[in-house]
Amino acid sequence: MNAGARRWLPFLLLLPLTAVLCVGFLLPLIQSVENSFHGFSPRGIDRSTWTLAAYTKLFDPFYAGVFGRTLRISLIISAITAVLAYPVALYVAQLRGRAQAFLLLVYMSPWLINVVVKAFGWTLLLGPRGTINTILRTLGLTDAPVPLMFNETGVIIGLIHGHFIFVLLPLWAALAGIDPNLRWAAGNLGARPWEIFRRVTLPLSLPALMAGVIINFTMNMAAFATPALLGGTRVQVVSFLAYEVNLVDLNWPLGAAMSMVLLVATLVLVVLSQRIVASGRRRVMFEGAR
């Protein structure tokens, strides 16, 4: 139904953003895709030859391993974030307006501080002689410092902290938007609180949770500063390696190929997960009908 709207109207509305994205994103990216198919030597990119060398190099077990680690860490972070964010969203959603807004701000606060500076804050907190280890030692829980930095633990803590809000926001919006009548109706029909949660609240908030987790996941996959600063060389993720390859080796074709593979892999995963969610939602509804 789109009478009264001329056929070009949607395109006219899309034009400004598309134009900006063309210059600010698409065309540079296309150039970088082109780079990924060129040869490389210490003398620079050889634009006269076309080759798949950069891509075949990525089949190497080492690069595959780095991709695997990136994927694994990203998934772990998203999973933990989802589990942690759900109760927080539940709590925030039932607060009154102003308290709600202030609490959301607390969760948004990691963005108010520069990543690099924040990393120094983490060093003071997580380092071998940092606040947490000092507390643990004072309580007599450990003798040797617990390694919380320069390993995956550090990266996971840092990224859960950094990307928490992207799961929390949509989830909170969905939970706050659920008609309380539905819960009352379920209770009225004899459902206990846990049942109400499982059969009404959870299924209704699942799409939002999934949307948040997907954004969170893609951000984890592309994160650079936090893994570099909290994980160091020991936790090599794709972005970190892409930095080294692009800047230290100056091998732009390989760097571009890496990001292309990362982009495509993430996109595929996102689309796949959306499919699974769609079929999962049908199942939840079916179960609910039983």
Binding site: P42, R43, G44, F62, F120, T123, L124, G127, P128, R129, G130, M149, F150, N151, L229, G232, T233, R234, V235, Q236, L241, E244, N246, L247, V248, D249, L250, N251
Partner: protein, 352 residues
């Protein structure tokens, strides 16, 4: 209505925005220097050296600051063929990568008169660049910690292999300039060389489990040393002094054989302001600038005529000392850089 108030305050903000002065680009009389933020930026912008340059030459000096030599050279290469900067100042190894990609012009002796005053060593690749000052690769250790634990202070490169230092080390990775020199020294120490780097990697592999972090920046080393997360670090000699000066009880030392880490300046080929570029390179290797670097940071000037005085003077290398420094085979380093870095990432970086 309160919605109106939000809208009107947004509108007011937008109006302010339109009135805000946009940084207009001064044309012609401007020279762009692509280099580090940090101390260089402080020197130029806070301590008034950019104004001095303008007074002396008439050019407005604008710094394009980056965090690392790799970022500096990547920025320069991205502008290949259509550069927007005139002069690049960064670490030797990264600079040579730029030379290899053909982004630098040959310096003109007539337009850069100070070149005549430089030591012979300072010439880079037939005049594609010039070393301004050098730092040496050093170590720093926590005096208090060593005393407390009854360990002997380290003296030589070999001391780093001592078993009690396991879990106490901060070492720069091979992607870092100091890390490259350290790798070469490890190779030489174990009977290898730039051309036979395997012994170096074997030694790194032995060290790897005892490394707290493969650290690339001065700031991170400072923080970790201060928090006693580690007690021995390999890095630039001057950084050690800087950290000590800021109240962390580290003792810097320079083991023999000594490696220098030069800072190189040069002009971009096809730069928008070639005259200004020559003037800036000339100024960067001039006496006052290099004397300042020497006095403030203990950097050794490559200009023969610079006299360094003050507390750091004793750390500045003499002409004779300069001759004893290790000659690194830069051609090999350059050809192997990506390969070594790749190997480090594969074999060493994740070992614990």
């Amino acid at each position: 209505m309160r919605k109106d108030r939000i809208v009107s305050s947004l509108a007011a903000a937008a109006a302010l925005l339109a009135l805000a002065p946009s940084a207009a680009l001064a044309q012609g009389k401007e020279v762009h220097l692509l280099s580090w933020g940090g101390t260089i930026q402080t020197m130029l912008e806070k301590e008034g050296w950019a104004d001095r340059f303008k007074k002396e030459t008439g050019y407005t000096l604008t710094l394009v600051p980056k965090a690392t030599s790799s970022e500096i050279i990547a920025t320069a290469i991205a502008q290949k063929g259509k550069p927007q900067v005139d002069v690049v100042l960064c670490d030797m190894v990264a600079y040579l990568q730029g030379v290899e990609q053909g982004i630098f012009a040959t310096l003109d002796r007539a337009k850069v008169p100070n070149l005549a005053k430089m030591v012979d060593l300072a010439w880079v690749k037939d005049g594609k660049g010039v070393m301004t000052y050098v730092d040496v690769v050093g170590m720093m250790y926590q005096e208090d910690v060593f005393k407390r634990k009854g360990w002997a202070p380290p003296k030589s490169w070999a001391d780093i292999m001592r078993p009690e230092l396991k879990g106490q080390l901060l070492i720069p990775p091979v992607s870092n300039t100091y890390g490259v020199y350290f790798l070469i020294e490890l190779a030489r120490m174990n009977g290898g060389s730039e051309k036979n780097i395997d012994p170096g990697f074997e030694a790194l592999k032995k060290l790897a489990p005892g490394v707290v972090d493969w650290t690339t920046t001065f700031a991170k080393i400072g923080t970790l040393m201060q928090g006693e997360a580690a007690s021995l670090a390999v890095f630039g000699y001057t950084s050690g002094f800087e950290i000590r000066k800021r109240g962390t009880p580290v003792m810097p030392l320079v083991p023999v054989p000594t490696y220098m880490s030069p800072t190189v300046a040069g002009a971009m080929a096809g730069s928008p302001n070639p005259e200004g570029a020559s003037a800036l390179v000339n100024w960067l290797i001039s006496e006052p600038v290099l004397a300042y670097r020497g006095e403030r940071f203990g950097n050794t000037p490559m200009n023969r005529e610079v006299k360094v005085t003050g507390e750091n003077a004793e750390r500045v290398l003499t002409g004779d000392q300069l001759k004893t420094l290790v000659n690194v085979d830069y051609d090999t380093v350059l050809a192997k850089r990506a390969e070594w870095n790749d190997r480090f990432n594969r074999e060493i970086a994740t070992v614990r």
